[in-house]
């Protein structure tokens, strides 16, 4: 399934609006991580410190929901450059915990965090998002499939290492990823 000249499939993992728990669970593959890395090249990941999302990626695991403009930008970029996109964990699949802010207005959230008198020791004036200091929050947090097409859903908060292993194995074999019932529940 490799698209690169190198024979190994190219794997990327991306961290959007999530808590990094899915990446922790990925690392919880323990020694199987060695197997994964012997079978795939890790070309982009929060644990690999690579700044630019590369071209010609075979599989991208995307943790986190789409919360701000930067998430949206990266989601679109990775979709263009990836053959298979996996919604990796509940935030990417459903919006999950970051989506709990959706009942509130974005401006109210930002101003209450920075300037509400209740938080006297808070960080102070609201930083200017427009000028590029911080990414602009989207009005609603949305799951990944609402902004780009998603090929595979890997639910769980976080998905257990067993789920990740099952999905990665199925992808490596080139077959469809059909998780058993006990491995496809949300939460």
């Amino acid at each position: 399934m490799a698209t690169s000249t190198n024979s190994k499939p190219r794997l990327a993992t991306v961290w959007l609006g999530g808590c990094a728990g899915c990446h922790m669970s990925l690392l919880d593959l323990d020694e199987r991580i060695v197997d994964v890395l012997s079978l795939m090249d890790l070309v982009f990941s929060p644990v690999a410190d690579i700044k630019k999302f590369p071209e010609g990626v075979d599989v991208t695991l995307v943790e986190g929901s789409v919360c701000n403009e930067e998430n949206l930008h990266l989601a679109r970029e990775l979709r263009q450059k990836s053959k298979l996109v996996v919604a990796f964990g509940d935030c990417a699949v459903t919006g999950n915990v970051p989506g709990m802010r959706n009942r509130l207005k974005v401006n109210d959230i930002v101003t209450s965090v920075y300037t509400d008198p209740f938080y006297r020791e808070g960080p102070g004036p609201v930083p200017q998002a427009e000028g590029g200091e911080i990414p602009v929050l989207l009005p609603k947090v949305v799951p990944l499939h609402q902004v780009i097409s998603v090929d595979i859903y890997l639910p769980g908060c976080p998905p257990s290492p067993e789920r990740i292993w099952a999905a990665v194995n199925a992808i490596l074999k080139g077959g469809p990823v059909e998780l058993p019932e006990e491995m496809r529940s949300f939460g």
Binding site: A87, D90, V93, T94, G95, N96, V97, G99, M100, N102, R103, L104, K140, V142, P143, H145, Q146, V150, Y153, P155, C157, E181, E182, R184, S185, F186, G187
Partner: protein, 239 residues
């Protein structure tokens, strides 16, 4: 007891004339998903998960509220039904705030397990993310409207088994809401006996014991048949 003969998934079967179609289907060992149905309570036909196709009608029938009839020809798992059942679960997940990861009933929830069972991988609809309250005024229990699927099991058990009818439904359609008493804080209702039957029959984390944290709430329905068999058939299973 008169008996009728009908065809379920190409198999000729017989059922008591008083049975519902759902009874007859289950009797055959066919696994039709249900959510608002609970053995021991009256049928509501609200969730529509148990819908079946019936020959000679373009309509779908909720099998829990359809009596069996002679010569019926029904199908329970056509592609269309499987697709619709997935859509129903997705609509339920989109309608309120079902955040499994932080829910008291994570891992023990009927909606969550139905989604996995029916192969719901994601929700194709926009999440409505309504701003809904929780009622923690009761000394023992909490009502969280965010997790409610409006199955009304709580209403029915409160009325039909406990006999208190503290809980009811207000509003219509998407504005429906479980209420206590005269739409008042649950803790101020004088008819509530605090028996907890509503909590035990609730399929999701909408009703739970106060003090439960994420994934701690486990519910049991078996008390229902124990009470009803004792009351109606005078059979008490003490062990």
């Amino acid at each position: 007891m008169s008996v009728v003969t009908l065809t379920i998934n190409d198999k000729l079967v017989s059922a008591p004339a008083s049975a519902t179609l759902l009874d007859a289907i289950k009797e055959q060992g066919i696994d039709v998903p249900t959510l608002c149905h609970l053995k021991g309570l009256s049928e509501r036909g609200g969730c529509r998960l148990c819908v079946v196709e019936m020959e000679g009608s373009p309509k779908l029938f909720a099998s829990c509220v359809t009596p069996v009839a002679e010569g019926m020809v029904v199908r329970t798992h056509t592609d269309r039904l499987i697709k619709y059942r997935q859509m129903m679960i997705e609509l339920l997940l989109a309608e309120r705030n079902h955040i499994c990861a932080v829910c008291v009933q994570n891992g023990n929830c009927e909606l969550q397990s139905l989604a996995a069972k029916l192969g719901v991988t994601s929700v194709r609809y926009d999440y409505l993310c309504p701003d809904l309250p929780m009622d923690a005024s009761h000394e023992r229990y909490v009502m969280d409207h965010n997790r409610c699927v409006l199955c009304a099991r709580c209403n029915r058990v409160c009325d039909e088994v406990e006999g208190a009818h503290t809980l009811d439904m207000a509003g219509r359609g998407i504005h429906s809401k479980v209420i206590a008493g005269m739409n008042q804080a649950w803790g101020t209702s004088r008819s509530c006996t605090s028996c907890g039957k509503c909590v035990q029959v609730c399929p999701t984390g909408a009703l739970f014991k106060k003090g439960s944290s994420a994934a701690e709430m486990v519910k049991q329905h078996d008390f229902l048949l124990w009470i009803l068999d004792g009351r109606e058939k005078k059979i008490w299973r003490w062990s």
